[in-house]
């Protein structure tokens, strides 16, 4: 079975287009689901204050703080829902929250 | 023999009346008959009165109810005569077979005026003499075959020997005892 193109299954899809038993074929399909649209508050990263302690990365419920070569990168705003946990956990004030997208 | 012979067994939990009914079904099956062998189930335990049934026929058996008007009744434990109406619905052209050391004359008054044939067999003595223990199944089975004529005695003995050889392949010493119990029963049932 080819991977399910979830962008083609929407709340407007007729029942015939829903997969059998709502099964989703293929892996990593949640990437295509842009949950970042839900955000009402947005975290802002201040690299100058960041010590790369990486306390923020594991607490992110949406895996939206990518890490490359042992260093955190800027937020994945396609999937960050703006919950603010990362800002709470940061001891150095390197993440602040702003209102809106 | 009628199209379908119906037999009702009365015993107590643990005495093997259900097993005897299944054995009878088994041996009649091997004889080429259509058979049913089934117990009436409840929460019974050791010692509680239990009932089991057989239908034996040349035709397909479709009815799935209990048996209310049997041709034959087999009583594996004579103490049941006091508490259970064992002759209920029993055909007067049929017979009742009772496991007892007592003579028929002593039993008949307990049968609520049943006018059909009454047979007795002392299954305890036969079993203890041939097997050294009390297993009433083999004698009661043989008595039932002898009285009901569901199959020829010789054919029955042959089938049972085959079954015992299969069942007791690791204990051949009990085969002869069981066969002797069957033969003694054929001689003694009256």
């Amino acid at each position: 079975m080819a991977a399910t193109d979830i962008s083609k299954i929407t709340e407007k899809s007729p029942w015939q287009d829903i997969t059998e038993g709502n099964q989703i074929y293929g892996s990593g399909t949640s990437k295509a689901f842009i949950t970042g649209e839900w955000r009402t508050n947005t975290p802002v990263f201040h690299p100058d204050k960041c010590t790369q302690c990486l306390l923020c990365t594991p607490v992110c419920p949406d895996s939206s703080i990518p890490v490359k070569d042992c260093k955190r990168q800027d937020f994945d705003y396609d999937h960050c829902k703006g919950c603010g946990i990362c800002a709470k956990v940061c001891p150095f004030g390197a993440i602040t929250m702003k209102e809106g997208q | 023999m009628k199209d379908t012979v119906e037999i009702r067994w009365h015993g107590r939990g643990g005495q093997g009346a259900k097993t005897a009914a299944l054995l009878l079904a088994d041996v009649c099956f091997k004889h080429g008959k259509n058979v049913q062998g089934f117990p009436e189930y409840g929460p019974e335990r050791m010692g509680a009165p239990i009932t089991a049934y057989n239908r034996i026929s040349d035709n397909e058996l479709r009815v799935h109810s209990n048996i209310y008007d049997p041709d034959y009744v087999v009583v594996v434990d004579e103490t049941l005569l006091e508490t259970i109406d064992v002759t209920a619905g029993l055909s007067e052209s049929g017979a009742i077979i009772i496991n007892t050391p007592r003579p028929k004359e002593e039993i008949i008054p307990h049968l609520k005026g049943y006018k059909g044939a009454v047979y007795t067999i002392d299954a305890r003595r036969i079993s203890e003499e041939t097997l050294g223990k009390y297993f009433p199944n083999s004698p009661m089975l043989a008595a039932t075959v002898a009285v009901s004529n569901v199959m020829e005695k010789e054919e029955f003995l042959k089938q049972m020997e085959d079954s015992y050889r299969h069942k007791f392949s690791k204990k051949p010493e009990v085969i002869e005892g069981n066969m002797q119990a069957l033969r003694m029963t054929f001689e003694e049932v009256q």
């Binding site: 038993g21 074929y25 | 049913q36 189930y41 409840g42 799935h64």
Partner: protein, 394 residues
């Protein structure tokens, strides 16, 4: 020509399981179905089959593990009765909505309370809306034959639904009777290998199963399930026909017994059908035009087919072996009546409840029903439209 044998209903279905040799069987014992996993476990211990048997700690776990095994890509089944199935309740719906083609051999037993171990259909009738295919049997032969057809139906690509193979507790499950078995190779060939297209343990094509469905998706999912159930109708007929070509015993949605010219008909499920046939032969020999519709497949419900078969009957007694406390009919009557109304069959209908909690159903009971149906029609006798038979009453 098959193999002449004598087996109880439980032995027969266990033998069919051995011949089919599914991949996984999780089970928890409950009377009167206990013998099925017990006998299967013996077959496995003796090396006669290689099904993975999982002794679980409850029926909830039994159905969960069956669902897990099926989702993983295995051909799976379990067995239960009565309260055991009640404990599986939420998982029954999960198996169906996840579209898993697994099997349950159900030995019908009354639900508590009062606690009772004997036969009625309250367990499976209670689960009639769970999305499972339900197939019932009159005797040991039919439950054996039905199990051999089970996976062919449930695994069909147009169906993918779980299947319940039902038989009457004790009445057939524990009664020794003649049966004709099929040769192992014939069964293997008929059932075939299970090659699921999608399954969780397929590392090359990962998938997700059982996601949350918000309101925007739930209803479309249910519609797809009901379409699959409709598709099952054709598959059941095709498989029943093919089974007949192999075994000489063809199966459809129901059996019509002397129904073609019958004025008075009884509709019934399970072992009581055999007893009713004996009553019908008795009445036919007296010139009475009576017949029987023995329903085999309750889900999917063959509404039009039933209506067509009963179209010319003057009066119909519909017999339920479970209560639904609507005060007007049991579940079978409710559904048959709806079908008759929809397809414009105008007939006198009387709803009977019989055989609850193992109450014996006798040929005399069937004779009474037929006599009443005739009385209603010929003499215009007014009777209760919903009543119990075989009941003690003042």
């Amino acid at each position: 020509m098959g193999i002449r044998e004598r087996l109880s209903g439980n032995e027969a279905v266990a033998y069919a399981i051995k011949q089919v040799n599914p991949d996984v069987m999780p089970a928890f014992p409950i009377t009167p179905s206990t013998e099925i996993p017990q006998i299967v476990a013996s077959y496995i211990a003796n090396g006669e089959m290689d099904t993975e048997f999982i002794p679980v700690e409850s029926e909830h776990s039994a159905m969960s593990a069956t669902i897990g095994a099926s989702a993983a890509g295995a051909r799976a089944l379990t067995a239960t009765s009565s309260c055991g199935m009640a404990l599986m309740w939420e998982l029954l719906y999960v198996a169906a909505s996840n579209r898993l083609p697994l099997a349950l051999t159900l030995v019908n037993r009354a639900l508590s309370g009062p606690i009772n171990i004997n036969c009625d259909h309250s367990d499976s009738m209670g689960a009639r809306d769970s999305g499972w295919i339900q197939v019932y049997a009159e005797n040991n032969q039919e439950v054996y034959d039905n199990f051999i057809q089970a996976y062919r139906i449930s695994e069909h690509k147009d169906v993918h639904l779980p299947i319940m193979i039902c038989q009457d507790g004790f009445i057939t499950s524990h009664a020794l009777a003649n049966i004709e078995l099929l040769e192992d190779d014939k069964v293997k060939q008929f059932v075939g290998e299970y090659t699921p297209e999608n399954f969780l343990l397929n590392s090359k094509e990962p998938m997700s199963l059982g996601p949350y469905a918000v309101s925007n998706y739930y209803m479309e999912t249910k519609k797809a399930q009901t379409e699959a159930m409709k598709n099952a109708k054709k598959v059941i007929l095709d498989v029943g026909k093919e089974f007949g070509e192999m075994s000489g015993r063809t199966y459809g949605f129901f059996e019509e017994y002397r129904l073609e010219d019958a004025d008075y008909a009884v509709v019934i499920i399970g072992s009581a059908a055999g007893t009713t046939k004996d009553a019908i032969d008795q009445l036919r020999s007296q010139g009475k035009k009576v017949g029987l519709l023995k329903l085999r497949v309750f889900r999917p419900f063959p509404d039009k087919e039933i209506a067509d078969a009963l179209r010319n009957c003057k009066a119909i007694g519909i017999m339920d072996r479970s209560e639904s406390f609507s005060g007007q009919a049991g579940p079978l009557t409710a559904e048959v009546t709806a079908a008759l109304y929809r397809y414009k069959v105008d007939s006198n209908i009387v709803s009977y409840i019989y055989g609850l909690g193992g109450r014996d159903y006798r040929a005399e009971d069937a004779l009474e029903v037929f006599s009443e149906l005739e009385d209603v029609t010929v003499n215009g006798k007014e009777i209760e439209q919903f009543r119990y038979i075989g009941l003690r009453s003042r």
